[in-house]
């Protein structure tokens, strides 16, 4: 299976499996090396990177919600130069394309990021993350700033708040694909400090809202859409494909059940694991078949009798 996930042209991006991690959920590609077999994924999207280093936000970072979580980080990262020097070698060994997520800070900084990436063979493409409250004009400026400085394929991740408004302008400006959408911004009360904390909201309830956006926008824009938002199972991922997405990004479930990322990728890649007994050695995953613990439990039960 080969899937073209950006608009057709000489710089189009092809992947083998229509599943990849969302920026911010998979680090720079090696954090889950003992859990997720990266070669089963379509691509790796890096954590968000800015031109300059960014420091972590102050105050409360995490507020548990019902079936979800609000996270507030301030998007800390050591800046693009440090990230490239630290991960270049590791990325050169990646079995799948590496797509760098860059944050739309200013068109100038974004342009510099793009030209830095243009020089890096190990990076296959760019994902540009637009901030909430970005207007159409400004979004187009960001896209053009990237495209003027690189030939690499460009995906643009739309903020949920303005996805409907930005989709067409961003496509017109030349983006190769749209990621619909980033986790929405929210505010929640920190039960300890008593303060209202801003952040991003993650969890399964985001999914129906994102799925509706994907279904809606897939009929309106003529570049590929990559669906994202609260996907927590293979069926969820297939729903996005059915609604019109060319591929999907998996977000916070990777934090909670990292193996789920690979399970979804195998499923949509046509490698569904259905039974323990038929599984190839490398297809075993948690909960499948025999284990020493299962035997230990049996002996516990035998002692009870």
């Amino acid at each position: 299976m080969t899937i073209e996930i950006t608009r057709t042209g000489k710089d189009s991006l092809f992947i083998d499996t229509p599943v990849m991690p969302a920026a911010g959920t998979f680090g720079y590609g090696d954090a889950y090396r003992n859990i997720v077999r990266v070669e089963k994924l379509g691509a790796v999207i890096t954590n968000p990177v800015t031109y300059q280093p960014w420091h972590p936000a102050n105050g409360t970072r995490v507020i548990p919600l019902d079936a979800g979580v609000l996270v507030h980080t301030g998007l800390p990262n050591p800046g693009i130069s440090k990230v490239l020097s630290q991960y270049r070698t590791m990325w050169s060994r990646m079995p799948v394309p590496v797509i760098m997520h860059i944050v739309a800070t200013t068109p100038d900084q974004v342009a510099r990021c793009a030209s830095r990436i243009e020089a890096e063979e190990v990076v296959t493409g760019i994902e540009l993350g637009l901030n909430d409250d970005t207007g159409s004009q400004s979004a187009q400026d960001f896209v053009k700033a990237v495209l003027r400085n690189t030939q690499k394929p460009l995906m643009v991740r739309l903020p949920m708040q303005d996805a409907y408004e930005l989709a067409e302008p961003v496509a017109q400006a030349g983006a190769g694909a749209l990621v619909v959408t980033a986790p929405p911004r929210g505010t929640a009360r920190d039960p300890y400090s008593g303060r209202l904390v801003p952040g991003r909201v993650y969890g399964p309830l985001i999914r129906p809202i994102a799925l509706r956006m994907v279904g809606h926008l897939a009929r309106r824009v003529d570049i590929p859409i990559i669906g994202a938002g609260g996907i927590h199972s293979p069926q969820d991922a297939r729903d996005f494909i059915e609604a019109g997405a060319r591929a999907v990004q998996i977000d916070s479930v990777t934090w909670i059940e990292p193996k789920m990322l690979e399970i979804i990728a195998r499923d949509l890649g046509g490698l569904t694991v259905t039974r323990a007994s038929d599984a190839l050695a490398d297809e075993w995953y948690l909960g499948m078949g025999e284990s020493t613990l299962a035997r230990r439990r049996e002996s516990m039960r035998a002692e009870d009798d």
Partner: protein
Amino acid sequence: MIAQLTDAMQQTQALIQRVRRINAHFQHVDLGIEEQLGDIKPGQSLLVRQTQDWQPYLREQWWPVRIAPNLVVVERPGHIKYEPGEFISVLGPVGSFFRFRRSLRHVLLIAYDTPPTPLLSMIPLLIANQTSLTLVLLGEAAAYQTDHLAGQVEVIHGGADLEWEHRIMTVGLADQVFAVARPDDEIRRFGDIWRMFAELRADIRKNYLFGVFQSIQPCGAGVCQACMIRLKQGTALTCVEGPTLDLSQVQL
């Protein structure tokens, strides 16, 4: 601080083998662990899920108090019901292990407004090493009942104001100090502890006074950045470089 990279975490399961009430507030749960979880070392923890659904969403951080081959004993609040024979989902090991000085004669443990649970896994190791141990329970930590701790651990109950009997002597004796503080305002409380030590000692050298951080960890794997602590130079992720950080390097 450059990341002390431990080997990356595993996702596997553990078997609840035994549950014992140890006092009015806590129980000890024996977890049978899969070989693939590898060697867990004192200082590391597990991220645990018991539900199949998404409520609660985040994993709980479970702190070992004793580690043996294929077995980890964790200390959990007493009001939660665990069934022997139940499987739980485990991510781990999380974080880096405690680093001790080569010649270590006395270790001081401090629990400030929080149970000392995250510190306890070092006790068997240090006792085996003939290191003497003092545990100071400050503020709300005074409610922690210590009958189940090894007899070799000297337990001192202090006040809410970071005062305790023979404080100057205990601090003077200690080669290393490890502290936990109530997580809702950890940085401020570690600051209190730091200032208390700074009053007692002319200078606090490196590798002497450590905080064991209990930040909420959405991923535990160094990817979500939510557990990041500002250092005087740079930053540290408590889930990778922590939970134990040298307080002389932390921006308090």
